[in-house]
């Protein structure tokens, strides 16, 4: 079996790549996608740890092992969907206003 450390390492690598992408790229769409990558990384880590610690915890009604990690990942996916929807709506509005998708051209909030 692959130890949890491997999964965690992979997840942090993915997270770093997503973060760098988010910070470096100027295209808003790619930024959104980098966020996706980061969130996937998180999901991976959650599921991996859940797999490593599946024992039933006190206060959980379901007897067959605790699925907290997975449920958490599930809700992350839900939130992710909502986030992407709104994000892309904003991108559309931005495009309509400024005819561009580069994030650093929306700099009305100057000094």
């Amino acid at each position: 079996m692959i130890p949890v450390e491997h999964y965690v390492t992979l997840s942090s690598l993915l997270f770093i790549i997503g973060g760098v992408g988010f910070l470096v790229r100027r295209n808003v769409l790619v930024t959104l996608m980098s966020i996706e990558v980061m969130l996937n990384a998180v999901n991976l880590a959650l599921v991996a740890f859940n797999r490593a610690r599946p024992w039933h915890a006190i206060g959980q009604t379901y007897a067959g092992g605790s699925h907290t990690g997975q449920v958490f990942a599930f809700f992350i996916i839900a939130a992710e969907a909502a986030e992407v929807a709104v994000g892309l709506a904003i991108v559309l509005a931005l495009y309509r206003l400024r005819r561009t998708v580069r994030s650093d051209e929306a700099d009305l909030l100057k000094n």
Binding site: L14, M33, L44
Partner: protein
């Protein structure tokens, strides 16, 4: 048995990393979308390895099916302007930001790995019964322990949908904008060269409210001269 599992893990990991790199490094947003798709699929694979079948399914359906498709839809909607030529503006800030983030991330990861190595004992994966991660286990947990977050996430999704429509609405939204934003919205005055708007926005698609009379009157705002006639008549080339 374990060999297949290891190979399987490393393949998926490699694919995931490749996908992530593609997302970040691709010049054209479509290629980065494809990279994202690859990442999502490989992560789904890993989920399967981690005995989280339901999640893998969700991953495939929601992520691959909906979110990546939405991205593609928007990219196509924006057309070529979705992939503006990259130039050197603001490169210093960006490199600093990315570089320091990468550096911090890698050093933190290295510290963790070193500490784990120092402790030189790995956590073996305990074996778990078959129904773990299945649809019924997940369902029962979802509707017993995680009921509250479940209900709230439904509210969240509803709000997100309404928000998305309101933001993306377009024309009616402008009425609420302030005068200076209207100037911006109407775009630069006629003197701006007839730049090709090849994307889907070549003409005002404001189909949502057909009953809308020619724009501008109701607002009492001065007639924006260049909009209606120029665009309608001239078939702008892509």
């Amino acid at each position: 048995m374990s060999a297949v599992g290891t190979v399987y893990f490393y393949v998926c990991a490699a694919l995931a990393l490749a996908g992530a790199l593609a997302v970040v490094a691709a010049r054209n947003p479509i290629r980065s979308a494809m990279g994202l798709l690859l990442l999502i699929l490989s992560v789904a694979g890993l989920f399967l390895a981690l005995h989280a079948q339901f999640l893998a399914a969700i991953q495939l359906i929601v992520y691959a099916g909906a979110i990546v498709v939405l991205f593609l839809f928007v990219i196509m909607l924006l057309g070529p302007s979705a992939s503006p030529p990259s130039d050197r503006r603001g490169v210093v800030a960006r490199t600093i930001g990315g570089g320091i983030f990468a550096l911090a991330g890698l050093s933190a990861m290295a510290a963790v790995v070193r500490a784990a190595a120092a402790a030189h004992r790995t956590m073996p994966m305990p074996d778990v019964d078959a129904s773990f991660g299945g649809i019924d286990a997940f369902g029962s947990v979802l509707f017993s322990d995680a009921l509250a977050p479940f209900e709230l996430s439904s509210a969240l999704l509803m709000v997100a949908v309404v928000g998305a429509i309101a933001v993306a609405r377009g024309r009616q939204g402008i009425k609420a904008l302030s005068r200076s934003e209207q100037e911006i919205a109407h775009g630069p005055p006629a003197s701006e060269p007839a730049q090709e708007h090849s994307g889907v926005f070549r003409h005002d698609i404001d189909s949502a409210s057909p009953a809308l009379p020619e724009r501008g009157q109701r607002l009492g705002v001065h007639e924006a001269p260049h909009d209606a006639p120029a665009q309608g008549a001239k078939e702008s080339s892509v």
